[in-house]
């Protein structure tokens, strides 16, 4: 995306003497991460609340054969695994994007009102439009996320000057507060008890079916392409808006594309799994701890690491509360929090 950030900032800590070696080790690390993701994918298809033998799982996966095993493997675990990878990658990537875009180390995808917008739209759909299927939630979630983001951007841009990171964050917090209140108001005053909404609002992959995966896949793909392409431009933004502009980066355009990508990624992820907030916050920090501040590496690594964290958490959640399941959002928080604390204690968070 050289049209956006025409001058590519060199990653500040990449030792000029050995950029090649560092690059090689990062490429290797990326392959290792993808390998780890594949292992988790295999686990996700093999392990679940229903204790199927590995051979049964394999048969059901390859040959189908009808019956309970096929139902579980093909119609529950495979879509769920795909959704876990998608949601984790989207949230990890969106988190990294948000943190760079706003230069705020505590930024996460919820910050621009995306989650709140999606949740509000879904509640309205359930309450007034008789929507009860996850596949239908998706559209409302995307619309809600989009409207909330536009609202935040318009609010953050009014008045003098361009939208600064601080003003965007403040506008995001305000819009989130309003939408969260509105969501509660609908839930509390509407006659129907929102069991479906409650299940969704916790954040879970339990209900995902293949049609939902196909529905949101295009949004995640487009969002991911936009986000990863922004990597070089984000390196320029990291130097501050004025310096980035001085170097030829079109700051406003970068920010708009970044927000568009965030909205697509988070809207899709939130629609599928409900609001899972921790991934977007913690994954970029974990990644940054070993890639350094170069966004061209942080973004792809955040995708893979996010997918690993969400999927592994989901697998754990399936077995710890048998015969029920612990929601993936709960497990990610339980796993993610200690990791986060460890990183914060071990080294200062990489400066943005």
């Amino acid at each position: 995306m050289t049209t956006l950030g025409q001058t590519v900032a060199r990653p500040p800590d990449a030792a000029p003497s050995a950029p090649g070696r560092r690059r090689a080790s990062l490429v290797l690390a990326l392959f290792v991460s993808v390998g780890a993701l594949l292992v988790v994918v295999v686990l996700s298809i093999g392990v679940g609340s229903n204790n199927l033998a590995p051979s049964t799982v394999w048969n059901a996966l390859v040959h189908g054969g009808g019956g309970e095993a096929e139902l579980i493997v093909r119609h529950l675990r495979v879509p769920r695994t795909a959704a876990g990878v998608m949601v984790g990658a989207a949230l990890g990537l969106a988190g990294a994007l948000m943190q760079s875009l706003t230069r705020n180390p505590l930024a996460d995808p919820g910050l621009l009102g995306v989650n709140a917008g999606a949740a509000f739209a879904i509640v309205v759909a359930i309450a007034y439009l008789d929507v009860h299927q996850l596949g239908e939630y998706v559209w409302f979630a995307l619309i809600g996320a989009g409207v909330a983001t536009v609202l935040v951007y318009v609010l953050g841009s009014t008045g003098r000057g361009a939208a600064s990171p601080v003003r965007l964050v403040l506008a995001g917090a305000a819009v989130t507060a309003v939408l969260t209140g509105a969501t509660s108001a609908v839930v509390l005053t509407n006659g129907i008890a929102f069991n479906g909404f409650r299940a969704w609002s916790v954040g879970s992959l339990d209900a995902v079916t293949s049609d939902v995966v196909w529905q949101v896949l295009p949004f995640v793909v487009v969002g991911s392409v936009l986000a990863v392409a922004l990597g070089p431009a984000l390196n320029a933004i990291a130097l501050g808006d004025q310096l980035a502009a001085a170097m030829g980066a079109k700051v406003a355009r970068i920010r708009v594309v970044g927000i568009l990508a965030t909205t697509l990624l988070c809207g899709a992820a939130t629609a599928v799994a409900g609001p899972i907030t921790f991934i977007g916050l913690v994954v970029p920090h974990v990644v940054r701890a070993f890639t350094g501040p170069d966004n061209r590496w942080i973004l792809p690594f955040s995708m893979v690491a996010g997918a690993i964290l969400v999927l592994a958490s989901d697998v754990i959640g399936r077995v710890v509360l048998w015969p029920s399941e612990l929601e993936v959002s709960v497990v990610t928080a339980v796993i993610g929090a200690p990791v986060f604390i460890l990183i914060v204690r071990r080294r200062r968070l990489a400066q943005l």
Binding site: G48, S49, N50, E68, L71, I72, H75, L76, R77, D130, H132, Q133, L134, Y137, S184, V187, L188, N190, G191, I192, A193, F194, N195, G196, R198, A199, W200, S201, V202, S204, D206, A207, T209, S210, D211, R318, W322, P323, S324, E325, E327, V330
Partner: protein, 363 residues
């Protein structure tokens, strides 16, 4: 009978997990000896007893003393102003021809305490509704009751003590959980409090006989497996064998399955993974509950529609909408709602066993 699924306010406050945990905790102490056909027999050690009433006519019976889980309550004279605060406590009173001056309710727009089976008890219009979940003591006191019943729906010791300062209070009989007092002990303990124990027992016997008649008319139901399950978008629950709705099935001759019984234990309901739904779907009869307006969508749910009981039509579909009276008749499980559940439920069960996937009337 608090409904884990049907209380948006509480769900908001605690979150789903916290809410369900709270429910589970509250119900963990359940010790009802409920099995097929015996769900309404009080445990031998905890039969509600009343002193000085047995065998005598009501008007001369007072004072009566009623035993319940918080001790004994003496009612000095025949009560005239009864507040039926427990969720379904008005039903035994209406059955005995008594109109309470106020009745308990969730006081939310998804709930209506007046049903086809008890509306004849209120010929002068709707009684005052009081929130039994969060009791407004001043409101109760302002009604100047001479008897308060708080048998179904649950009461804390603290609330019991506060209410006792207003008027004599009858609480849950010893040995039963707040959410699952069957119509037998429920009716008898309230009958005792108004000095009409014998009549109450006769009413209970009529309902027992009605269920016996159902079993007699359908000998083929004996031994068939059946269960209530709840399906929402991404949330599946199975009801315990002692939940009031389940006793409609067991009283009609159906049996719950040992593997489900083992999982649910004494819980009102249990959340299960989508991967475990065959535990429900393989049964001979499943009664599904979902959100009002969501039946068609849940039937299309790819996981639900592949279950045997759904594919073969051996499922009854209903919601907890206030117009879905069959749901509430089973869920209230009172001396008045039992016959309504039988009247409306038996044709539905017959249709389901014939593979017709019947829909409850209000759903």
């Amino acid at each position: 009978m608090r409904h884990p699924h049907a209380s948006p306010l509480r769900a908001q406050g605690l979150g789903r997990r916290g809410f369900l945990t709270a429910m589970g905790g509250g119900l963990a102490a359940v010790a009802v000896a409920g099995c097929t056909n015996s769900a309404n027999d009080p445990p031998a050690s905890a039969e509600p007893t009343s002193k000085g009433t047995s065998g005598t006519e009501p008007p001369s019976a007072f004072p009566v003393t009623v035993t319940h889980k918080f001790g004994e309550t003496t009612i000095p004279a025949a009560p005239q102003r009864i507040v039926a605060l427990g969720q379904t406590d008005c039903d035994p009173l209406v059955a005995l021809g008594i109109t309470p001056i106020a009745i308990g309710s969730f006081v939310e727009d998804w709930y209506d305490p007046i049903h086809p089976w008890n509306e004849q008890g209120f010929p002068d219009g709707r009684p005052e509704e009081l929130n039994f979940v969060e009791v407004d003591f001043e409101k109760v006191a302002a009604l100047a009751p001479d008897l308060i019943t708080m048998v179904s729906g649950g009461i804390t010791k603290k609330d019991y003590e506060t209410l006792s300062k207003i008027a004599p209070v009858v609480a849950v009989p010893e040995g039963y959980t707040d959410s699952a007092v069957p119509y037998g002990p429920h009716t008898v303990v309230i009958g005792q409090a108004v000095g009409r124990e014998e009549e109450a027992k006769a009413l209970v016997a009529e309902v027992d006989a009605a269920y016996a008649a159902v079993r007699e008319a359908h000998p083929d139901w004996a031994g068939l497996s059946a269960i209530h399950a709840e399906a929402y978008t991404g949330l599946y629950q199975v009801l315990g064998r002692n939940a009031p709705r389940t006793t409609f099935l067991t009283s009609s001759g159906f049996a719950t399955t040992p593997d489900l019984d083992e999982l649910t234990g004494d819980k009102y309901s249990l959340e299960i993974s989508a991967e475990q739904l065959d535990l429900v779907g393989d049964l001979d009869l499943v009664i599904w509950t979902t959100d009002p307006g969501a039946v068609a969508d849940i039937q299309k749910n790819p996981v639900i529609k592949r279950l045997a009981a759904v594919q073969e039509g051996h499922s009854i579909w209903m919601t907890y909408d206030k117009d879905d009276e069959f749901f509430w008749a089973m869920d209230c499980n009172t001396v008045l709602s039992g016959p309504y559940a039988i009247e409306h439920g038996v044709p539905l069960v017959e249709a389901a066993l014939a593979g017709q996937s019947p829909l409850s009337e209000g759903a």
